[in-house]
Symmetry: C2
Subunit: 453 residues, 2 copies
């Protein structure tokens, strides 16, 4: 009987992250200071990030070694299995081979601790005592709580109010790991107070929660730093452990992917699986297709504009060159909370612009249908975010069937969905609807962006 | 750096379950028909169970082969990691080595699918189309939904009302895998209707839910059978895959347990880890201590009586020779819902009676304290049930420290707790209380039992 899971021994866990900046054909344009429009420097970044993270953000080294202390915590759940989705293949009656990397086995239930752990480590090493961050769906906030706890750091999470109210379990996970979790907007920050005054009934937004977390960190330059869960280069760097493991595991499975698929919010999950395979394209002449999957309701890659935008609501982050819908864009309340973000990271945006990756947008009902099929054939209930990658993999597998091709598909299962089951209830109850923003709606927020280049 | 996880390759996954009945020094007394008091036969059991499960229930074969179809589904998550709890060891500053088997990595989040999968398989093979079962905390109901779905069976779960109302996520998992979940007591059965008439505000009980599920199965002898998640021999048999894996993995870790620990409700988790190590005691002359851990609020092993009792409320199950508090005992509403059961399986009860295993009872606050320490040192948030095993392991490790012994401890982490986080909220908020039933309270329900032997 063929193996279903391909498990890398701990002794073969990759010991370095991969920095795609070393091999990308065209470098992304630099981050800019939102006030002066001059390129951001490492010392600018140090105001909000730990020194080593600021260094990594601008680094061009090809590989960055994973510290032993980080490897030790990774070993709680890593290496994570590569799985051959035999049940799904059978249900689709496809000649395609489907593999997925199961990042849902982490204690947090997603890929997020891959970056949370090194971020906490470098801050701790620098003598920082407190971390602040935002969280939307709650995955990142849980991950940083888990990671901060390991290094004895206080962690303060600003959780978007709508999620805070709807997802008590995520908040309780953070509490269990010793973190504090606020419903954002709070009265603790200027950004929060302003938002509450403007609209007392606001349900909050990710951009606003970022603003609150950054503002809070800036108040205490000695002891506090901010941490971000996606978008920035150093976060994507840490996530490449996934793709590096996957390369070794595909060899164990004696297979090579024709197409690599990841869902995309800011890009941490997508970059994690994609970048190491893109290295094979850039350096070894391979021609692996790499596909980013976004929700049709938040289509920054397929319908956004490629220009500078800020990462938060109030403008505490640098200007980032990105595919964006505008930071004031209000995505509809789809269940994949981790994908409701207006922009994509700079490297990913550059890759798409230059034609090195593809992007596709899928409606919510199709993704949840894919999620239920996956749950019933592979046993694992996927996170609503991950169902986007599954839906795209299913499209590829069905195309392979029509065309009679033996395609090999690899996707990243970013997390499990057992703390997001209301999405399934709504889908199974027939209450889910698709939402496609109109051209006017997108133009409205895009047109408000500064035209810098 | 030393390995933290010991991962068995899929190719080395055990291919047979172990039946302790073949090696136990004194056989348990037979199950009895509750009406006639004559020993139950295989054909009696076939009225409610699939034929092969009825056969396994009374089997004395040492090893029973795991069918290929079951192994294939086991491979979705098995073999499960054996983990060295280095973080916990450090926090306790103990010379003891602590290992645990992580059954929380299954798609359901617990050990329960180890038996749900073969139960669904044998029923399917026999041409049964529908399964009925009960669930308390929801783990077993989820597991049977997951398993039944794989074989195209309809699954109907009677979930104790208090859990149904408090744990919507569990119900939603069952729905996602295509099962129907009722709040028990229902109006679908005589047992349910009687209970609702007697007390319209009843919050239900596990014994009552079992009665409903059995009654429902008996209505359709052609197409429906009942499945049980614990207590009975065939269920514990299926769970031995855990202990069999653990034996191989302890060899990989170059270690031998001095003590093996499992929490106990009906005995499925405890038997799963304990029985293969007891074989080593009985057949190879080893002297491994084996400890069953129960909640102080439901102390059947430490304060119950050893005699015949029924497994449900209405008397649809055989009379089972067990340590019991009486089937009318109402355990307090502790968070470890899976341990709120009045009796222990026949084999386990016989083992305790004959001094082959030990039993200990631990109060709820101590177990939750242990759970939080585990979450903060090992990263994994344990199920409230599993925190009992952790608390006992901590007691052993601290004793080893005082006595300066290099004890090796192995416990079974029956599941993760991310769907039971309200227990942690209550504990962290200081709202948890311990409850110790009085001698009178226990005597009241024990005295109502028939004196058969």
């Amino acid at each position: 009987m063929k193996s279903k899971k391909f498990i890398l021994p701990e002794s073969q866990m990759p010991t370095a992250w991969y920095n795609l900046v070393a091999d990308i054909p065209h470098q992304p344009r630099p981050y800019l200071n939102p006030d002066t429009h001059s390129p951001i420097t490492e010392s600018d970044l140090r105001l909000i990030l730990a020194d080593e993270l600021a260094r990594q953000e601008l680094s061009t080294e090809r590989f960055i070694e994973i510290p032993d202390e980080v490897q030790e915590i990774y070993r709680i759940w890593r290496p994570v299995p590569l799985v051959r989705a035999i049940g799904l293949e059978k249900a689709l009656d496809t000649p395609a081979k489907i593999f997925f990397k199961n990042e849902g086995v982490s204690p947090v239930g997603s890929h997020k601790p891959n970056s949370a752990v090194p971020q906490a480590y470098y801050n701790h090493k620098q003598g920082i005592r407190r971390l602040t961050t935002e969280t939307g769906a709650g995955q990142w906030g849980s991950a940083l709580s888990f990671a901060g706890n390991h290094f004895g750091l206080d962690v303060e999470v600003f959780m978007v109010r709508v999620s805070y109210d709807q997802k008590p379990y995520r908040r309780l996970m953070m509490n269990t790991w010793g973190a504090t979790c606020h419903s954002s907007p709070t009265t603790l920050t200027q950004s929060g107070r302003t938002a509450r005054m403007t609209d007392p009934h606001t349900t909050g937004s990710l951009g606003l929660a970022i603003s609150e977390a950054v503002e809070r960190a800036l108040e205490d330059p000695e002891g506090t730093r901010y941490c971000l869960g996606s978008v920035m280069n150093h976060v994507l760097l840490h996530q490449t452990i996934t793709g590096e493991e996957a390369i070794l595991q595909m060899q164990m499975a004696d297979a090579e992917p024709d197409v690599v698929i990841g869902c995309i919010g800011g890009g941490s999950n997508f970059g994690g699986i994609a970048f190491p395979f893109l290295r094979q394209n850039f350096c070894e002449g391979k021609q692996i297709r790499v596909v980013a999957v976004e929700p049709e309701s938040c289509p920054k890659l397929t319908r956004g504009t490629f220009q500078y935008d800020i990462g938060d609501y109030s403008g505490y982050t640098p200007l980032i060159p990105m595919y964006t819908l505008g930071h004031e864009f209000q995505p509809s309340a789809i269940h994949a909370g981790g994908l409701r973000y207006h922009g994509a990271g700079a490297i990913i945006s550059q890759l798409l612009h230059d034609g090195h990756i593809e992007a596709t947008a899928i409606p919510q009902t199709e993704t949840m249908q894919a999620g239920v099929l996956f749950a019933r054939t592979e046993g694992i209930i996927p996170a609503p975010e991950s169902t986007h990658a599954i839906a795209a993999a299913i499209r590829e597998a069905l195309r392979a069937k029509i065309e009679g091709r033996n395609t090999t598909i690899l996707f990243n299962l970013s997390g499990h969905g057992t703390i997001d089951l209301f999405a399934y209830e709504q889908y199974l109850g027939g209450h889910l609807q698709d939402y496609i923003p109109s051209d006017e709606e997108i133009a409205r927020t895009v047109q408000r962006l500064e035209q810098i280049i």
